[in-house]
């Protein structure tokens, strides 16, 4: 399981987005940092939305008898 699943990718982006929003809402940041965070948040939100828009259900079938996990199936 080397590549993260779409949900894992999405969740890590979304968690980062939430962190950015929380830091920004706390306020009292230098102006440059405010802007950097803002732009980072915008990018994260766009990335989340892109993942949602592009998602396609991945279905894999395993036979009950198989002993090995074949992720490429």
């Amino acid at each position: 399981m080397s590549t993260p699943s779409p949900v894992e990718t999405y969740e890590s982006l979304y968690v980062r987005l939430q962190e950015v929003v929380a830091r920004l809402e706390q306020g009292e940041l230098p102006l440059n940092e405010t802007l950097q965070l803002y732009e980072q948040g915008v990018r994260l939100a766009a990335a989340c939305q892109r993942l949602l828009d592009a998602a396609e259900l991945r279905v894999q079938e395993l036979a009950a008898g198989d002993s090995q996990l074949d992720l490429e199936a």
Binding site: L24, L29, V59, L62, L69
Partner: protein, 411 residues
């Protein structure tokens, strides 16, 4: 000619016949303790006494029966007309009417009913063992990564579930392990498939089968299947049959869904809900950034006023300019992401509708009115250059004057 006196001497009274028959029947080794199988043609329970009166039939033959309240109270369910049952008791006659009756102490459903009796027995046993315990029910993941599905190969249930997952939450990965869902082989096949899916690193399992007769669903009342469900390392949702069907696995599972489709729905959030969360975060981002900058600007203005003489004016000027620059960059970021904003706003639709104009202003929007008559402007054509304007912001109003219209933006 028979002598009447002799006949009278030999004749039995009605009650003597009745008593004789009763004693004969009740002491008979077979009739005093027997099982009768037949179809219930009538079954009445008298509310006042609690006793039950019924008749069993079989072709042309009919047998009346009675079951006293104390016995009837022990039945899981009272038989209904049409049920084929096995009744246990003894035969005797009811002297007042001369009727032959079965005095039953047990009425068990035959056929399907026997399955039901097994079901009740297994349910009681597993419940006593703690397999249904509410404390061990686990919450479902809010957003599962990988869902394992155990159901019939190429079944309608599988198609329904995949269609719902594809529509609601195509972000998830699905691992399907097909199995036999009816017939003698089904319990073993389901157990095997469950253990297979437990190895597949899923974080949620759906065990499902479409509707069918009680016999069709029977594999889901199997003890080995129930124990395999109990052994699931991750939360498991069952969707077996229709709403009205309840199987043993439903009691063991972490959550029971009425149908396979409902199981797929319970298992996943809707993508639109996730999009709404992203849009909400996006809106909070805008409002936090805007208000952070507005606070800064107010502080700088305040500083400029209160320490005008002593403060290094150039420094204040630079701060002001920096804030203005930043606001412009934010505006550029806004327009760069116009498409995302459209999605965000449409996702927020309902919520936006409830926002007050003040809340909208707080997020950095402004209302522009013509100073002369207070008309709210929605188009540059409403204000010729030089027109006095009033701009309403979150916490105050600005007077302004219209300059030339900006070059038309292409959309």
């Amino acid at each position: 000619m028979v002598h009447v006196a002799l006949i009278m001497h030999q004749a039995l009274s009605v009650s003597e016949v009745s008593t004789y028959l009763r004693e004969l029947l009740e002491s008979h080794p077979l009739l005093g303790d027997l099982w009768v199988q037949g179809e219930v043609s009538e079954f009445k329970r008298y509310a006042a006494s609690g006793h039950c009166y019924f008749s069993l039939k079989d072709g042309e033959a009919l047998l009346r029966g009675v079951m006293w309240k104390s016995h009837a109270a022990r039945l899981a369910a009272l038989p209904r007309p049409g049920d084929v049952v096995l009744a246990h008791g003894y035969l005797s006659i009811y002297p007042q009417r001369g009727d032959l009756q079965l005095y039953a102490d047990t009425v068990l459903p035959a056929g399907v009913g026997l399955l039901y009796a097994q079901f009740e027995e297994l349910k009681a046993r597993l419940e006593a063992e703690g397999l249904f315990s509410l404390e061990r029910k686990r919450p479902l993941p809010t957003l599962p990564r990988r869902i394992g599905i155990v159901t019939g190969r190429q079944s309608a249930a599988l198609q329904d579930m995949l269609a719902i997952l594809a529509r609601r939450c195509p972000l998830v990965e699905v691992v399907v392990v097909p199995c036999q869902v009816q017939g003698d082989r089904a319990p073993d096949s389901i157990v095997e498939a469950l253990y297979r899916v437990y190895e597949a690193e899923v974080d949620l399992v759906l065990l499902a089968r479409g509707g069918g007769s009680i016999e069709d669903l029977w594999a889901f009342n199997d003890e080995a299947v129930a124990r395999a469900v109990f052994a699931s390392p991750v939360p498991i949702v069952t969707g077996v049959g229709h709403e009205t069907d309840t199987t043993i696995v439903d009691f063991v599972a972490d959550m029971r869904a009425p149908t396979p489709s409902a199981a797929a729905e319970l298992a996943t959030p809707e993508l639109a809900d996730l999009a709404a969360l992203v849009a909400e975060a996006r809106a909070r981002l805008d409002s936090a950034a805007t208000s952070a900058l507005a606070t800064r600007r107010a502080l700088v203005n305040e500083a400029a006023r209160s320490v005008a003489l002593r403060a290094p004016l150039r420094q204040i000027g630079r701060d002001r300019q920096q804030i203005d620059d930043l606001l412009r960059r934010i505006e550029r970021a806004f327009s760069r992401d116009a498409e995302l904003r459209r999605v965000a706003l449409s996702g927020l639709g309902a919520r936006l509708a409830t926002l007050s104009p003040q809340a909208t202003l707080a997020r950095g929007y402004a209302v522009v009115r013509r100073a002369t008559d207070g008309v709210v402007l929605t188009s540059p054509t409403q204000a010729r250059p030089g027109t006095r304007l009033q701009i309403t912001l979150r916490d105050g109003t600005l007077d302004a004057e219209a300059a030339a219209p900006a070059p038309e933006e292409r959309r």
